[in-house]
Symmetry: D2
Subunit: 294 residues, 4 copies
């Protein structure tokens, strides 16, 4: 077989224009017109009108080399339109890799999965560091050339640990923090500071089995499918906006240990997909729900 | 193409031996030995040891024509073994069709699905009658040659209606009652009289979204999959032993009306599979959970 | 529970603008601008650029009551834009129900499924008639108030039958013909006359197991999943553009008869979804492949 | 959260008795009786009668500490029964870890996945070495403490490379060889020497898209799902007994590069599941098909 040449090397530079605003006539035309005026080559376009709450969502991916300005120029040129329609909006550059801080505890499956996807160029981001309350995964992380910070959490006084975590996350210039089975509840101020920028993987099909030991809860209830949920962390436990979910079939033959094993694969997939959507600016949050332009 | 010749006409007569008892060494040998002694031709055998609670489950399907006795003869011959191992057990004859009373309200999808499966010989049972609190589905039911009973439920005094329902179910000699989106909560005495013989379809992936309007609840929470659950009815709402579940992917584009539409297909499948398992004596209940030998 | 009030009664009248053309800058802007100029209220918009062959696909759904013209007025006003970009395009009116002729043989599952979806207002179309080469399903069809035509096919001389089928389809003013397990191969001239307007359900996951007895083929090969495919009929057997596919898991325990039974549910789903996409003008065909804006 | 204590440390030692033979009355009884005579504690039992070819399959898992003999003693004691029923059979000891030689090329996803599962104690086997025709994955393999052999394949004369591969596999005492996207076709003599002991992952839903570039073939045909297949290697390309398959939904939006990316996750899952079944002696091959007692 011929050598596999990564297609990522040919990844085209794009700008991603992401908009949410009150719905109304003419928004699409105005935005499309703006892009056409500057000969913007649209490679992907997605719209959504939420008829229940009258909100409009939009995402465009535009070839950067087709536009006559850089991202700041775009911002200036587009600002009047954004103002006119009261848009919440952002424009991002696909070449500005997002900085992802990973947090884990002792279980390696989600962390190993994300590291491998990053290492094989499947996840387009930088990983400035990994933070863990245990030291077990240090060697695996460091093999990837990524700094590993061990921040033990004293169950009687967690504040110092989270102060240190906050410091490290800030220092890393994190765009997003991923709780890859971190197994600690973040304090409210951290949740607020990084609102919609902390992604957690919960090992159940939320809203079923919130909190601790969801596989035990699932086994006790006798469900026939188990699942996992990636969501943005909010102050209320396991109640933040859901980004992605999936399930796997189980049977009476599966002990709790089997549920744990089968669940791991769902957790990995659901977290990796959720993170990918976030990195590609495909997730818009409104009313504690997400629009995911996949 | 040549005409399709139903394979059901060649369905072989079998006895189904279903056993649950405390686990221990020698049960399988004893039962297998018993069957071999009488030259029983086993067409299907399933075992399950639940290590958590020390319980053992077993199901055999045996060609009736290979045995030297009828079902009563089997019962007598097997009784000593059952007693020795403190078995809860039953033996059923595949030619003794179970009698299934269907109950529905106004929505037709589950009822139409079950009636078609029955009509095309896919569900091996008798349907002595359909009971509904509305008259809407009468014509559809009667086209199938099945009696339709309209028993309106007075919301201010439901007792007379349920007395009539109970009378009809008894009169029909029902082995099992299927709530095919009946949308009324059965009174406790009915639940008790027909324990493990009333199958309900709930239009959510239990234990999420118990009670009314689960699709609205699902939409509000922003889940990415919706589901359905068939379960035995107990006095506690939507908390009985789960027989079968399934899900379907949804997205932000799907309004509640779309969830209702997509959910219908899952409901139909999950109810039909659950009923089939029950009819074929594949479901064993223990500790509010099911073993399903599919 | 309160009575279920069909949401379909509130279905809004929309125009659907469906476009395929060579890709280029400014198409979206031009179309959006056109719609905005006339205050068109876009309820759904979908784009796709196929980078491999440089083709662009677009579908808009627009509230009819927001536009100042009827569908003919729309056609006239839009024609210059369509010409400028060499568009293949159409505009349809959601209130102009498509006329669907169903064809079946002896097996009832797909036909019964579609009839029930139509009868319960889930499929938004008219069904002028059902044509079958056997008489078995007459009563079921006629109960729905739909004319049933029995057109036997003489295996030694099929031409007269297909002449009659063609006559009936034309007479019915069919927009689309659905082969709901019709089990006869249509002659080439019929395929040509109704190109991209005949939908077939094939009972395998194409391109595996083309032709006769796909479940037997699947069993022989020992696959672990079986599937079904809805596709537009072309002159080459089972090689037309695929609209929708799905699969179901099987195991060594499943005999061919079980495969047939399990497959039926997949066939029903895949055909119903494919037809729905077609009826809502969501399917665009290019290079023997489909773009499905679901 | 408390530290996760691996349940694998408590894995119980079992013997696995795997049998295939012509079907007949009394086999189950004889085997069960044998086990009961020696007080064998059965933790899992599976049977299958293939009615089409009259073959019977059986697998028992028995607690080793419940039996009065070791595995050789078992063999001697059981031999007469095996002979009586013309059984193909084997008995394996769960503590005798199977030796798995992994082969890969340049793509890392399947190899990394298997190595991580092994490293985190999810796959119960030894990995004596990894063989690759490229050097790219050496560092990843060696981090796991596993020897890495680089055996380049000269496209003009492959024989020397395969002679070396054969030598290495023999030297490693391999019970099973896994082609984790090795991308080279094994020569017939190697296929024969290791019949039913070489597992390949093919990146399509076989029998669709046999041979090279299946994702390109899938894109060209316009399928709506893509899949992967793990199977035993035979001399005929991609035609060996299928162990496991799965699929993932795609759409017109997905380029071939996206198919490759999405397919990787299916490949990993399907290969890992297939290997697990093999390691736990759950796969029985007959007539180029598998019985998988999962």
């Amino acid at each position: 077989m011929a050598a596999f040449v990564s297609f990522w090397s040919f990844r085209m530079r794009t700008f991603r224009l992401v908009i949410a605003c009150p719905d109304g006539v003419g928004i699409v035309a105005k935005v499309s017109n703006f892009l056409a005026t500057y000969n913007g080559w649209i490679t992907e376009a997605s719209h959504h009108s939420d008829n229940h709450n009258g909100w409009f969502f939009m995402r465009h991916e535009i070839r950067a080399d087709s536009l006559p300005f850089d991202i700041d120029g775009f911002r200036q040129a587009f600002a009047p339109i954004a103002k006119q329609f009261s848009m919440e909006w952002r424009i991002t550059d696909s070449e500005q890799k997002k900085r992802v801080v990973l947090m884990a505890s002792r279980e390696s499956h989600c962390l190993a999965d994300l590291l491998h996807r990053w290492h094989s160029d499947e996840l387009d981001c930088d990983i400035p560091c990994v933070i863990s309350n245990h030291n077990d995964l240090r060697s695996m992380v460091e093999w990837h050339g990524i700094p590993f910070h061990h921040v033990p959490v004293n169950p009687l006084d967690k504040a110092p640990a989270f102060a240190e975590v906050t410091r490290l996350v800030r220092e890393a210039g994190a765009d997003v923090v991923v709780l890859a089975r971190y197994m600690q509840i973040l304090p409210p101020d951290l949740c607020q500071e990084f609102a919609q920028r902390v992604i957690n993987i919960h090992h159940s099909f939320l809203p079923s089995f919130i909190g601790a030991k969801p596989y035990h809860q699932a086994s006790l209830r006798g469900v026939k499918l188990i699942g996992a949920t990636s969501h943005y962390v909010t102050e209320e436990l396991d109640a933040g906006p859901i980004i992605e979910q999936d399930v796997v079939r189980i049977s009476h033959r599966d002990s709790i240990e089997e549920l744990v094993r089968l669940g791991k694969d769902v957790e990995k997939m659901v977290l990796a997909r959720g993170l990918r959507y976030h990195l590609e600016d495909r997730v818009l949050v409104h009313n504690n729900k997400t629009v995911v332009f996949d």
